[in-house]
Amino acid sequence: MTPALDIENLSVHFAHQHGAIAAVREASLTVRPAECVGIVGESGSGKTQTFMAVMGLLSAGARAAGSVRFEGREILGLRASELNRVRGSKLTMIFQDPMTSLTPHLKIGIQLAEVLVSHSRMSWREAETAALRALERVRVPEARRRLRQYPHELSGGMRQRVMIAMSLLCEPKLLIADEPTTALDVTVQAEIMDILRVMRQESRMAIVLISHDLGLVAGLADRIVVMYGGRVVESAGAADILERAVHPYTAELLKCVPDLRRPRLERMPSLAGQAPSASSAEVGCAFAPRCPLAGERCLSERPLLRHIGGAAHQAACHYPL
């Protein structure tokens, strides 16, 4: 069965006056059809850049190496005109801040309809009708009126629904959601996650959910991939990660998730130290400076990703839990 997305040894470098910055280092992960994979990590972990590379949206001056296969076809390094055959139709992405992600001077209806007009041979009128249905699908009230409005006339939550509708128009096989709720209020967050859940059930599409919030991801993902310092450090089924996390970093992340069921704590747990900067050279394990379990070996030898405790469970650690 061809995976929806197969990333193999992806590395992303940015050229800089003082040398190259490695945002992503040899990351590999797979997304099966209709599967939801959560990607978790701090800012700077490389989680966003990985998928920018997948979508061909890296900024100028960035170089990607490795292999990215979408439904079996290699898409890394494709020319824009080639990539656009799947990009936006079968392989879509929604972004973190709906406020700035929509074009301010175009009406919502146009921004939706143009996807269909570009990718299928629909006329503008047919596309607008489809856009209306898409808005209703994501439960935008007064959808017909919204089509004629400009982005600044909608609330944040509604804008994000529009973004989701936009990404579903051509029935994608994979939707990448990069921190879709981070910029929204908590109540709105729940609504958006709900919509994603419903959409997934209705259409059998795979989802990649990128977030720094492990708790959020756990609510939707089948599998979770943890990234740190540009590398994948742990990858397992969602339940396994939550109950049998093997990498010390994941364990720390779990401790940080606020849980209303647990007794009240004096202080919220947090991770000491800072994420490694992408320009620093890698010596040993990137997490070692902050790891409570770090040993001599961790500082000099970089741990490789290997299977631990189960075929589906992988981690990169010398002293897994």
């Binding site: 824009a80 936006g88 972004f95 929509l102 301010p104 996807v115």
Partner: protein, 308 residues
């Protein structure tokens, strides 16, 4: 939109009135009269001339007469070209100046925008550097150096185009003047477009547009162009001012019978009414451009229309 326009129009009229009034009183306050440059005339003749031109009336009466005449489109007689009224001279010259000015502006926009966009899309490539270097030259070198130089190369050495002169309806005579006129604003527009396009292309919504799989052409034309045009819209009024200033020199060198040349002649001959008439026309043009620009801004950015 319409209400906004009327509001702006109402603001423009007083400005024009102030200019006309200031011009009028400044002229009357000047030392010497319009006839001083002639050989000294006997006093009675001077008195007759003054009466004929209404210069013996009290100043408020003259002002009133002038305003009334203006309302009828009458700018008074030219003091130097005795057979013509200023209105007639304006009528003859304005179409010429308008034609070359408008063509120059259209060229500046029509060539500058694509050039700037192209440079932005090929940021850091050879084409970008070349275009921007040319732009610096276009901005720095004044039209009164460019036009004779063009005339030298294309007129005298290559014999392709006439160096100067004018025939009604002739296009060949307009080519070099229009080129010299449009080069500075073209260069500025190209530079500006490149800069603002680069900015816009870094926006999140452009990233969304690419993520939607839209072809580059559509991303630029539908999503990037309008916001990138905002600074250029702000430059339109100065562009017109620059073209108007340039037309003074270009018409004088190329011998085109436009109002620019009349203005210069009027200045050299101390022809009051002519100069005043020209200044009023130019000011009105500028104010009108300001209005157009404001309307353009409102169209380009819907947020302005809704009132901030």
């Amino acid at each position: 939109m319409v209400r906004y326009f009327i509001k702006r129009l109402a603001g423009a009229v007083p400005t024009l009135l102030i200019i006309v009034t200031a011009a009028f009183f400044l002229i009357r306050a000047a030392p010497g009269g319009p006839f001083d440059q002639e050989q000294t005339l006997p006093a009675e003749i001077v008195a007759n001339l003054q009466a004929a031109y209404g210069l013996d009336l009290p100043i408020w009466a003259q002002y009133g007469r002038y305003l009334r005449a203006l309302a009828h489109g009458d700018f008074g007689p030219s003091f130097k070209y005795r057979d013509f009224t200023v209105t007639e001279l304006i009528g003859q010259g304005f179409p010429v100046t308008l034609r070359i000015g408008a063509i120059a502006l259209i060229l500046a926009l029509g060539l500058g925008l694509p050039l700037g966009t192209y440079a932005a899309l090929h940021h850091h490539a050879a084409a970008d550097h070349a275009a921007m270097s040319l732009a610096v030259v276009g901005i720095a070198v004044p039209s009164f150096v460019v036009l004779p130089f063009l005339g030298l190369v294309f007129g005298i050495y290559l014999h392709w185009l006439p160096v100067a002169g004018w025939e009604p309806g002739s296009i060949r005579h307009l080519v070099l003047p229009v080129i010299a006129l449009c080069l500075p604003p073209l260069s500025i527009i190209a530079r500006m477009t490149r800069g603002s396009m680069l900015e816009v292309l870094r926006s999140q919504y452009i990233r969304t547009a690419f993520a939607k799989g839209l072809p580059l052409r559509i991303v630029i034309l539908r999503h990037a162009l309008r916001p990138a045009l905002l600074p250029v819209a702000g430059y339109l009024a100065p562009a017109v001012a620059s073209i108007m200033t340039g037309s003074l020199v270009v018409e004088s060198i190329a011998g085109l019978p436009g109002i620019g040349r009349y203005l210069v002649q009027g200045a050299l001959n101390r022809d009051y009414t002519l100069v005043m008439g020209m200044v009023i026309i130019y000011s009105a043009l500028l104010i009108a451009m300001g209005l157009v620009v404001d309307m353009l801004y409102a169209w380009l950015d819907p947020r302005i229309r809704f009132g901030r």
